[in-house]
Amino acid sequence: MLKVENVKKAFGPVTVLDGVNLTVNPGEVVSILGSSGSGKSTLIRCINGLEKLNAGKITVDDFDVSKPKELAEARKRSGTVFQLFNLYPHMTALQNITLAPIEVLKRPKAEAEAEGRSLLAQVGLGDRADAYPAQLSGGQRQRVGICRALAMKPRYLLLDEVTSALDPEMTSEVLDILAKLAKDGTTMVFVTHEIEFARQISNRIVFLEKGVLLVDLPTEKFFADDGGLAQPRVAQFLSKMRKD
């Protein structure tokens, strides 16, 4: 279980997360919606230990991310996919994927590579294993980014606006893969602006506003008039997002 308990985070005088509570059970797909600056990405960065908490507690399968010794375990259990891919430019697609399995999980190289190739094949990049990131399109890069996270066999996949830097065609490339992962029962925390897609794949949707978790509801309920839409801020957000 991934548990966020009363987490507070501020950058100087700016409060970004103000007492956030969230629980993600294995097998769930939880989408996090909210306007820019609402704290969505910061929440992800707190879960994978890239930001220090000011208060509260985050545990990944009972491993506390604010304790350096437990953070390593917590990180083995969560895989992150970044908005801007963050691939290592000096490594091929395959090397990007196998670095952490070989170095962190101490997997034999041949084994890690075989698995990396099969992951690439699953996302339709079987023939691009030896290409460098600079030789790949945005959509292809993000698919490699997803493979890199999956190669660690994470129990929780953290996705931080993974399609925001892509055009609609490339976005659908990536979303197709995420839909497949969701169907296979991968646990995901999905920060996104793709509301329709979030509706299709999520079990639950949470809405973050100015660092406060306003709504945490099952997907159907979130879009129901007496559920999420009863919240004026959510209704306003959804109507704006749907115009385009």
Binding site: R75, G79, T80, L84, Y88, L99, A100, V104
Partner: protein, 223 residues
């Protein structure tokens, strides 16, 4: 006879001088690279005290003339500490440390040029600080630093000529000797200059070759 004509043996002398110059250059560059990179790593790990000491030493080395450093090491240090110092050891110590100071600057700026996103991408997958340095930062920093490093080494090769003043028989010293014997400065210094030029050109070509290899992964980086 106060002076004499050139003899075929002078070519051997010049090549010997070139050998001493190139040899000292290679040794001091190697030592300087190792020390400078180690200093850079200390800085990367932000080792307290040691980091401040290194920054101070590097500052002093960068901001004083090599000739002064050379005199200090060759004349000053032996006189003060009552020990023996050969011209070659003084040359090796001075040039190595001087190179190290500049390599340190290049190492620090190259490491800092690697974006935080790269470090974060590796850290979230559980790589240790050392693994991040080794697999993610170092290869990219190497590609970034090879240009300035080549420029530095070409310059350091010329700087070796200073050691002739403390009596090391390098190319410049051989030139001075031949000049005194033949009294034909134009020919002597042209020949010496060409030899330095060729050696520098070799260093530059080697650097260009290394740069091309290290940056093979990203054609766009050359913009």
């Amino acid at each position: 006879m106060r002076f004499a004509e050139f003899t075929p043996y002078d070519i051997v002398l010049l090549l010997q001088g070139l050998g001493v110059t190139v040899g000292l250059f290679l040794i001091t560059s190697l030592i300087g690279l190792v020390i400078g990179v180690l200093w850079g790593i200390v800085r990367f790990y932000r080792v307290p005290v040691l980091m401040q000491v290194i920054t101070f030493v590097a500052e002093v080395l960068k901001n004083s003339p090599v000739l002064v450093q050379l005199f200090l090491v060759f004349f000053g240090v032996p006189a003060f500490f009552k020990l023996n110092m050969t011209p070659v050891s003084a040359a090796v110590i001075t040039l190595s440390l001087n190179t190290a100071a500049f390599v340190y600057v290049i190492a620090v700026s190259s490491i800092e040029s690697i974006g935080r996103d790269q470090v974060e991408a590796a850290r979230v997958f559980g790589l240790s600080r050392w693994q991040v340095l080794r697999h993610v930062i170092a290869p990219q920093a190497a590609a970034f630093s090879i240009g300035p490093l080549t420029a530095l080494l070409v310059n350091q090769l010329q700087v070796t000529s200073l050691i002739s003043v403390i009596g090391v028989l390098d190319l410049a010293k051989i030139g001075a000797t031949l000049n005194l014997r033949t009294l034909k400065p134009f020919i002597v210094w042209t020949a010496v200059g060409i030899l330095y030029y060729l050696a520098a050109k070799a260093v530059a070509s080697l650097g260009a070759w290394a740069e091309k290899r290290l940056r093979a992964h990203s054609a766009f980086r050359g913009l």
